[in-house]
Amino acid sequence: MSGKIPVTVLTGFLGSGKTTLLNRILSEQHGKRIAVIENEFGEVAVDHELVIGAQEEIFETANGCICCTVRGDLIRVLKALRKRRDRFDYILIETTGLADPGPVAQTFFADEDLREDYQLDAIVALVDAAHITQQLSREAIAAEQVGFADVLLLNKTDLVSAAELTRVERSLRAINATARIIRTLRAELPLAQVLDLGAFDLNRALAMDSDFLEPQRPFEWAGVYHRAAGRHDVHVGADSAGHGHGHDHANTHEHHGEHATAPGGLSAVGVVVLAAPAGAGSAAVEGIAATLEAATALFGQAAEPLAPGANLLPGRHQRLSLSAHDHFGLLLPAAGHWLVYTEHAPLEFGWRLQGEAPVAEREFGSHHHDSAITSIGISDARPLDPNKVNDWLSYLLQSRGADILRMKGVLNFKGEARRYVFHGVHMIFDGQLERPWASAPRTNRVVFIGRKLDRHEFEAGFESCVA
């Protein structure tokens, strides 16, 4: 590892703030001598002697495999720069807005010249908070950039409402469960959050989002309301959402056009209402934890459709049919704390229950995906058989390598004192035994990010590895 020059790749659509970030990095006092390779020309304002323009050049192979595709421009420029390495100690690559991060990342593993002298540090994707929803629905490459990233800079956060920001963050999370999401204004953030992250370095601990690794739930949100007995008005639709965040969806979901639908293009949404268990009222969050399984079980049952004006009742799986604005009722048999579980986040269909805001709420991993790219996480403590793991991963790389953008994991091998750590980019795979578990709980954590991934397939594959 020593002596290799770290490389950070900046991706993101035009206008997402890559150049602003680049200029900030170059003008800041960080003690690093940074060379920049720019695929997007003429935007860096700083007159910096180590800014090199290079037009993106994709090297394809005769066999047509996308996993073998590398970036010729990077090989060429980085080879030449290596000869003057005493004058810089860090590389930043600014890709064009439309660049596929796959070949960029692969180049650092597949090309010997680069592999020997450079270490890919991390892929940082800038996301324009105001436009990413539209970009994700229109441009496949936007989801690829989000899917490949180690860090997602959710930039221009001043241009959207807090509610919209939460929604955007959830859709990013659905694509990429492991990236660190950082909200920024004008790409302002401590540089330690984007440089020297070691995201591809097996010797460093893998940071994973612990929320994501929970079992997936059939609902995205739970709220605890304190309400009197009787009927309470439920309003769904754009008017009740408060910030009118729906209008940019309206553009992107025109294909739903048979009848007017709620923001988010949803035509119906499942809801389950449960009473908070006795004693959980004062600690409302515990009420959610205590009813999770009951709610999950109810969501597993067939839903009864509910027309506008009808009442939601506790203990049932009901499905509100949605149009632009509608009213329903919630009929409660007694006063107290009541839990409402919703299939989609409340913001997505403009849910509002008459009266005070919930006393507690919690979000769960998104299970519906706007994008063809999703994350699958598996967390399981059972010890694995290394040979079976090898068979499984080999099979995945060969059969699904083109669809898997990134994979990473920490594995608990039976009879092995050390943890096995791996990561992969398409068909490129690197894994090794790392530091001992010692007193840490021995558990497997694996994440796959890719196209058309079937959760059941991955779970079955994992199951086949249990020792």
Partner: protein, 344 residues
């Protein structure tokens, strides 16, 4: 000096070693083989005079950011340099004066003088220009589909070949410009003409060697390399094509019906990736250099064992035979330049 046990034949005799205080990125022998022009990766253009008993080093100029390439006329007194400053300069070895013949943002990475010495080919990204020896553009050739990775004049002709992503172009310059395309899916990295001018071979990024037998209007490919093939070189008699990928040298025999269906010879001499490979311009020796700091001398037509080897102080960055094949210049990453002659 490290000697391979039981070796017979040619030996490497080091006659000079000097510190350049720069990265030896490229080099070219002067036509009379009395001096060496070295491209410093950190920016210095160096002239090493080898006539005196102690070599003399002179800084001719600077290409800000790094010198990318140098070339010398094989007969005559002109040489050329290009750098990361975007300039191409044409020099007079006698007066040590230069003129800038091209300037731009994009790097000019490949320079090649025609065998007759009157023309200089310069590639700048996808663009290819040919200058005469007054520095005037004689031809602007059609752009390549990708960045030009290598240039080579076809021996015994007025044809210039350029390779890159997507295959090769062959430009005939006289009586008028005429371009033939040789498309191939994949990225060509090298351009090596057999000295008889019949076959153009190219190492590929995807671990193969592609060749066009221009004379016979056929093409073929040798696969099975584990990594990209960044080095190719022909023996003087046009029979053997030496190729290298990673730590392996693979020799293909083009005599008779070969190389299709033939088993290549493999020379395993290095413990790290090869960086340089060059057949002697006249004669039968092959020299290889690698990141294991070693240079090895071979006679592949006779043996798969090296004749001799030497250990340098750092990874080998360049190997250049003088035009008559009697001297060998070797650069390593520590910034040292060594010059060898051959003994027996």
């Amino acid at each position: 000096m490290v000697r391979a046990p039981g070796s017979a034949g040619a030996r490497l005799l080091r006659r000079a070693r000097l510190q350049l205080n720069d990265y030896p990125a490229d080099a070219a022998w002067s036509a009379d083989a009395r001096a060496l022009l070295v491209a410093g990766g950190q920016g210095q253009l160096l002239w090493v005079d080898l006539v005196a008993s102690t070599p003399r080093l002179q800084v001719l100029g600077v290409h800000q950011g790094g010198v990318l390439a140098v070339a010398c006329q094989s007969a005559g007194r002109l040489f050329a340099s290009s750098g990361q400053d975007g300039e191409v300069r044409l020099w007079d070895a006698k007066t040590r004066e230069s003129q800038c013949i091209h300037a731009g943002d994009e790097w000019s990475e490949q320079l090649a003088f025609a065998g007759h010495g009157r023309l200089l080919a310069v590639s700048t990204g996808r663009a290819l220009r040919v200058f005469d020896n007054t520095g005037t553009v004689r031809a602007q050739l059609p752009d390549h589909s990708g960045v030009i990775a290598a240039l080579a004049w076809r021996p015994k002709s007025h044809e210039l070949s350029a390779v890159g992503n997507g295959g090769a172009h062959l430009h005939r310059l006289e009586p008028q410009v005429q371009t033939r395309e040789y498309p191939w899916t994949g990225a060509c990295l090298t351009a090596s003409w057999s000295p008889d001018g019949r076959v153009l071979a190219s190492g590929m990024q995807d671990g193969a060697v592609h060749y066009w037998n221009i004379a016979a209007d056929s093409q073929s490919q040798m696969k099975g390399y584990g990594t990209k093939v960044a080095l190719t070189s022909w023996s003087a008699n046009s029979r053997l094509l030496a190729t290298a990928a990673d730590q392996q040298i693979v020799i293909w025999d083009f005599s008779g019906r070969g190389p299709e269906g033939s088993e290549p010879r493999q020379l395993a001499a290095h413990t790290a990736r090869l960086t340089q490979l060059a057949f002697q311009p006249q004669g039968t020796l092959l020299v290889s250099g690698a990141r294991d700091r070693r240079i090895s001398l071979w006679r592949p037509s006779q043996s798969i064992e090296p004749c001799d080897a030497d250990l340098l102080s750092d990874a080998v960055t360049l190997l250049r035979w003088s035009n008559d094949g009697s001297q060998l210049a070797v650069g390593d990453q520590s910034g040292a330049l060594s010059v060898y002659t051959l003994g027996s």
